[in-house]
Structure formats: structure tokens, C-alpha cells
């Protein structure tokens, strides 16, 4: 230590021995910087031109019902309601998608009263029951477009007709077979149609029935309950591109 001379500030940065290696190191760094900058600049021009043009892409949709029942429906549930009874029926939609490219578009529900199924000869086509049905949206775990204008979230019927309900799941999906979009490339064009999570969760249908048990003079009281079938059709879609 005692043989060392006191360092000046510049002596800290280089010595006689380190000057050449330091110069070579900084020179090579500069060389690397220049060569890569030239390469970067050519890519910069290509990218600028690429990003300046925005082609129009056609997106094709293939929409179909997820058929779990084997007869064209996702779920079909039949249950008997007593007079004045209100029940909530839940359908699990969390694990329906067959692959990563498929997404849920919308959900259509049909409520079919017994009188309209043609399976109950015991109940004549008189004195239709009054049925009220609602898709439960409060605290629902189902991720969907709950405020969409096309939704039909409740219905009533006393004419023995089916009650249709509708819930839009995927944003901006209007059951078209195709649409067009301006995008830089295929990746960006498909981004609006590759969002995960829509339509997944638990669908809850609340049904209330007032049984029309008096069928008229001479017929009298015919029944005090009602068999109702709830058919849930979950429509899925895949998207593909056509420039």
C-alpha cells in the first residue's frame, strides 16, 4: 500500500495499462452501436410504411348451438311448479367451450308450458296457466351484456305459448355471418373477437306459476300444478379472417 501513489480523479478512471483495453472496449461498443443502428433504421422505415397502411379485413363467423342434450339444445330441464310457487333454476355455463378458439355469442332460453308440449293428455287445452319468467341478473356470476338493447330478460304468458328469452353475451356480436374491420394486420383485426370470459358463469332462471285450475262451468277444477320445460340454447362462435 505504501508503494502506491495517491490517485488523482482521472487516475481512478484509467491507468497507463488500462488505456488501450478501455479504448478498444469503447470502440467495439461504438461499432456494435453503429452496425445495429443501421439495421434498426431499415426496419424502422419498413415498419413505418407497414403501420401507415390500414387494410380492410372481413371477419367470418361460424355460429352454432352447443349441443349437450343431443337434440339441438344445450340444456333441457323439466320440472313441476305448484300453484303460486316461485323457483329459481340454475344452469352451469362455466365449462361449455370445446376449445380455445370458440367463444359464447349469446344465450336463448325458451320456456315451454305443459299445455304446449303436447305430452299431457290429462290437461285439456283450456284454462292456460299464468307463467312469469325472469333471467336473474342481480349478483349473477354470468359475464354478459346485461344492458344490451336486444336482451329479453323477462316474459309473461297466459295463452299456453312458449316464452322466449334472450341474453347477449359477447359484446357487439349481432349474429351476422361476417363483418369488416380496418386493422394493420390479422392479429389486430381479430383482437375484438378473441376476448375470453364472456358468457361464462351460472345462468339463473326464475319462474313463477299461477295455475288456472278452474276450467269453466261444467268442467270444474282440473289441476293444481304445472309442468314446465326450460330449454337453454347457448350459441357459440368462431371467427376467421378474409382480407
Amino acid at each position: 500500500m505504501s508503494s502506491e501513489e495517491e490517485f488523482g480523479t482521472l487516475d481512478l478512471l484509467y491507468s497507463k495499462e488500462s488505456l488501450l483495453p478501455t479504448s478498444i472496449a469503447i470502440g467495439l461498443t461504438l461499432l456494435l452501436l453503429m452496425s445495429t443502428t443501421l439495421d434498426f433504421m431499415s426496419e424502422l422505415e419498413d415498419t413505418a410504411v407497414f403501420n401507415a397502411e390500414t387494410p380492410e379485413w372481413t371477419i367470418l363467423f361460424d355460429t352454432q348451438v352447443i349441443d349437450l342434450t343431443g337434440d339441438g339444445h344445450t340444456y333441457s330441464h323439466t320440472e313441476i311448479w305448484g300453484d303460486g310457487e316461485e323457483k329459481i333454476v340454475d344452469f352451469d355455463l362455466t365449462d361449455l367451450l370445446p376449445d380455445d378458439d370458440t367463444r359464447i355469442a349469446y344465450i336463448a332460453v325458451s320456456l315451454i308450458p305443459e299445455e304446449n308440449t303436447g305430452v299431457s293428455p290429462s290437461e285439456p287445452d283450456v284454462g292456460c296457466d299464468s307463467i312469469g319468467v325472469t333471467v336473474v341478473s342481480d349478483n349473477s356470476t354470468l359475464v354478459a351484456q346485461w344492458d344490451d338493447d336486444r336482451n329479453i330478460l323477462q316474459g309473461n304468458d297466459a295463452d299456453c305459448e312458449d316464452i322466449p328469452l334472450f341474453l347477449q353475451a359477447y359484446p357487439q356480436f349481432y349474429n351476422d355471418t361476417s363483418t369488416t374491420i380496418l386493422a394493420k394486420n390479422e392479429f389486430q383485426a381479430l383482437i375484438p373477437w378473441t376476448e375470453d370470459g364472456w358468457g361464462l358463469g351460472e345462468l339463473s332462471i326464475k319462474v313463477k306459476v299461477d295455475v288456472q285450475s278452474y276450467a269453466g262451468q261444467g268442467v270444474g277444477i282440473i289441476d293444481d300444478d304445472e309442468e314446465i320445460t326450460i330449454q337453454v340454447d347457448v350459441y357459440s362462435f368462431t371467427s376467421s379472417l378474409q382480407e
Binding site: L12, P21, E43, N185
Partner: protein, 434 residues
């Protein structure tokens, strides 16, 4: 978010410990201030970035500034401005650590003034221009890079040729600061040497529809080049030193990063068709293994290992007074928390590709905690006992070791005002819908 909490916590504790201890030299005091504030600005950057990423995805974080939404505009502006401030501080760190290189009469005031002025000026200019020149600020890292390279080479040669073993701590300190500042880009060295990083850059800009500007591209290329050159210089120096004297833990760290960059470069070359697919046709996703590799290497390095390196510098080079009772207690807490954070993050990363049940990972974490609580005292004691000022034993002029004129409070007030500014300006900017 873990990185944000880690950086903020370590930054605040560093500043607290510096304020408590009687600082030994102005050089170590200023180094501690710079490191503490770098960690705080990095923490703020990662905090805003993680909130933005959580809300909108990675595209919004890295792409053009989206002014359509008030909250997004604020978050993306604020995180970019925090990044600019941390770069300004990083630029001057090599001028105070390992050595205080500028004249003591004015260095503290000038550096603080330049950092504050440049942080405010550059971030204001960037926000006015919607950040289209973002990343150009990396140019300011060049002087510090040259200083660190000079110090590393000068003291490595001094150690080997003049057999002065006490020079080693200087070259290691310079090397560690280089890794802390340029660690992420060091892992891209082979891709930069092969000049294929521009293809990745092009894909990135196309996917995120980012308007390329010369300034941005040059800044990014410079950033990549400095890291690549740094690791190659360190690896050459360490190879030579290992051949002449023998390998050290620092040599192993350098060779490890070199190896990671080598594998990363080969992996980059293999996915080049996928990288170019965006420009040439349809964008294809990277293989999962490729993403996983970078999660474990470059991403971990920048988010977790950088703060750990800074803390190692602070403890090992006695930047804070760790010997006093209360500081020793706080230091032990920092070490335990750092080890726990790193262990839990590594476990989470492992869980992302190995189907380990939560019960199992919780049990592993509990085992790690038990081991750390048993060993942390030994680890901390060893670190503190072996801690030595970087300038100790060197025949340095007074200008390098003397107390400086700058008061610590001035530093805190000035940079605290910059923090307020980089939060207020984006809030105002997004609020006015500019």
C-alpha cells in the same frame, strides 16, 4: 406489483437508514441517496404499470398513449414519467459510486439540479408530444456507462498485473452497478450481436400499433447495445482474471448472465419466423416455453434481482451504517423480507408451469421461511462484518472522500417535489383531456 412493493419498501428503508446513521463519507451518503431514490422511482413506475396492466393488458402499457380514457391516460403518463426520473438518477449514480468523481464543491448541487431539471423538462416535453420520443432518454446513460467500464477495466488490470488484491472490490462494485443498471439488456447480448433484436422491435411495434420514431428506435437500440457491450466486457475481464488468479462469485454471476444471454439468443434465433410473421403475414404466438424462459430470466432480473443487487451494494459496501443497534435490526428485517418475496415469486413462477397444488407450495414456502429465520442472522452478520467502504485502503485524494456540502434534506425535498410533479402533471393532463 411484487416488484413495486419490493422497490418502494427497499427505497424507503434505505433512505430511512441513511438518515439515521452518521454518514461516513459524502460519497457513500450520496450513493445511498441515489440508490434509495432510484428504487422509489422504480417502485412508482412499476406500481402504475401494474395497475394499468391489470386493468387493460400489456398492450396499453407498452403501446401508444391512449387518450380515450382519463384513468388510462393518467396511469400510462405517470409510469413513463417515473421511468424517465429513474433513468436521470441512474445516469449520475456512476459519478458517486464507487467513487465521487466530480469536484466536491459543487457536485451534489449540480447533480441534484440537473436530475430535477432534466426529469421535469424531459417528462414535460414527452407528455406534450404524447410520448412519441419515449426511450430516447436512455441516451443519457452513456456517460455513466463509460465511467463504469473505465473503472472496471482499470481496477481489474491493476489487480491482476500489479497484484493488488484490494482493487478487486472496486472492479466488482463497478461490475455490480453495471449489472444493476443494464442487467435486463445483458440477457439479450447474443441477439444484439446477431442484430436480430430489430425484428423483435418491429413485431412489437406492429402488434401494438406504435408509431415508430427515429428517436425512440435509437434510444432502444442504444439501451440494448450498452447492455450487450457491458456483459461482453465483463465476461472478457472475468475470463482473463479467472485464468490468471481464479474465479470468484462475481465471475460466476457474470458467466451465468452470459450463459442466459447465449441460450436466449439461440431461442430468439429459433423463433425468428414467428417474430417476422406479423410483418410478413399472420401474427403467430410465441411458444409457451419461450415466454417461460424470459419470465424466469430477463423479467425476473429486471423486477427482482435489480433491487436485490442494489441492497447488496448498500450492505456490502457499508453505504448505510449497519453496525448500530437499530439499523442492524432494520437490516435484518429487510433481508428476511427480500428473501421471502423472492422465494414466493419464484414459487409462483414455478407453479405457472408445474401443476403443484397450493397446499404443496404453501408447505414449501413455510419450509423456506423456517430455514431463513434460522439463517438470516448468520447471513446478515456475515454481510455486515465483511462490509467495507469501497474507498477503504485506497490512496484517494481528499476530494473523493470528504464530506459534501449538500444537505440530505435538500435532496429529499427536491426529489419529493419531482414525485409530486410527475403525479400532478399527468393528472392535470388527463383531466383536461389534452
Amino acid at each position: 406489483m411484487v416488484a413495486a412493493i419490493t422497490d418502494l419498501m427497499l427505497g424507503m428503508v434505505t433512505l430511512l437508514l441513511i438518515s439515521r446513521g452518521s454518514s461516513k463519507t459524502s460519497s457513500s451518503q450520496m450513493a445511498g441517496l441515489f440508490i434509495g431514490w432510484i428504487l422509489i422511482f422504480k417502485g412508482i413506475e412499476y406500481l402504475f404499470m401494474s395497475i394499468l396492466q391489470f386493468q387493460t393488458g400489456i398492450g396499453m402499457v407498452l403501446g401508444n398513449l391512449d387518450t380515450s380514457d382519463l384513468e388510462n391516460t393518467f396511469l400510462s403518463s405517470a409510469y413513463r414519467m417515473a421511468k424517465i426520473c429513474s433513468v436521470m438518477l441512474m445516469c449520475f449514480l456512476p459519478f458517486v459510486f464507487p467513487f465521487r468523481l466530480l469536484p466536491k464543491e459543487w457536485d451534489g448541487k449540480v447533480m441534484l439540479g440537473v436530475v430535477c431539471f432534466m426529469s421535469i423538462f424531459v417528462s414535460t416535453m414527452y407528455i406534450i408530444t404524447d410520448f412519441v420520443y419515449f426511450n430516447f432518454e436512455d441516451v443519457i446513460l452513456v456517460p455513466g456507462f463509460i465511467v463504469l467500464i473505465c473503472l472496471y477495466i482499470r481496477f481489474t488490470i491493476g489487480e491482476v498485473q500489479q497484484e493488488r488484491q484490494h482493487y478487486r472490490k472496486i472492479s466488482v462494485a463497478a461490475g455490480l452497478v453495471l449489472i444493476a443498471l443494464h442487467g435486463e439488456t445483458m440477457t439479450y447480448w447474443l441477439s444484439q450481436v446477431l442484430s436480430i433484436n430489430d425484428d423483435f422491435q418491429q413485431r412489437f411495434f406492429i402488434v401494438h400499433n406504435w408509431r415508430p420514431s427515429f428517436a425512440t428506435w435509437f434510444g432502444i437500440n442504444l439501451w440494448l447495445t450498452l447492455g450487450s457491450a457491458a456483459i461482453l466486457i465483463l465476461a472478457t475481464g472475468e475470463s482473463w482474471r479467472s485464468f490468471k488468479i481464479g474465479a470468484s462469485p462475481f465471475s460466476i454471476l457474470v458467466f451465468l448472465i452470459l450463459f442466459v444471454g447465449l441460450i436466449g439468443g439461440i431461442a430468439d434465433y429459433l423463433v425468428l419466423d414467428i417474430v417476422r410473421s406479423c410483418f410478413e403475414g399472420t401474427c403467430q404466438d410465441y411458444p409457451d416455453a419461450f415466454n417461460l424462459w424470459y419470465d424466469f430470466t430477463s423479467t425476473s432480473l429486471v423486477y427482482l434481482y435489480t433491487p436485490i443487487l442494489f441492497m447488496y451494494l448498500i450492505l456490502n459496501y457499508n453505504i448505510i451504517e449497519t453496525q448500530s443497534g437499530e439499523n442492524r435490526w432494520l437490516t435484518r428485517i429487510i433481508v428476511i423480507m427480500m428473501l421471502l418475496i423472492v422465494s414466493s415469486v419464484v414459487l409462483e413462477l414455478v407453479q405457472s408451469f408445474l401443476p403443484i397444488p397450493d397446499m404443496m407450495s404453501a408447505a414449501i414456502l413455510a419450509i423456506i421461511v423456517a430455514i431463513f429465520i434460522g439463517w438470516e442472522e448468520k447471513i446478515v452478520d456475515r454481510l455486515i462484518e465483511s462490509a467495507e467502504l469501497v474507498t477503504a485502503g485506497l490512496p484517494l485524494p481528499e476530494a473523493v472522500v470528504d464530506e459534501g456540502q449538500l444537505k440530505m434534506q435538500t435532496f429529499h425535498y427536491a426529489l419529493g417535489a419531482v414525485v409530486v410533479y410527475i403525479i400532478l402533471l399527468p393528472a392535470l393532463h388527463s383531466g383536461l383531456g389534452l
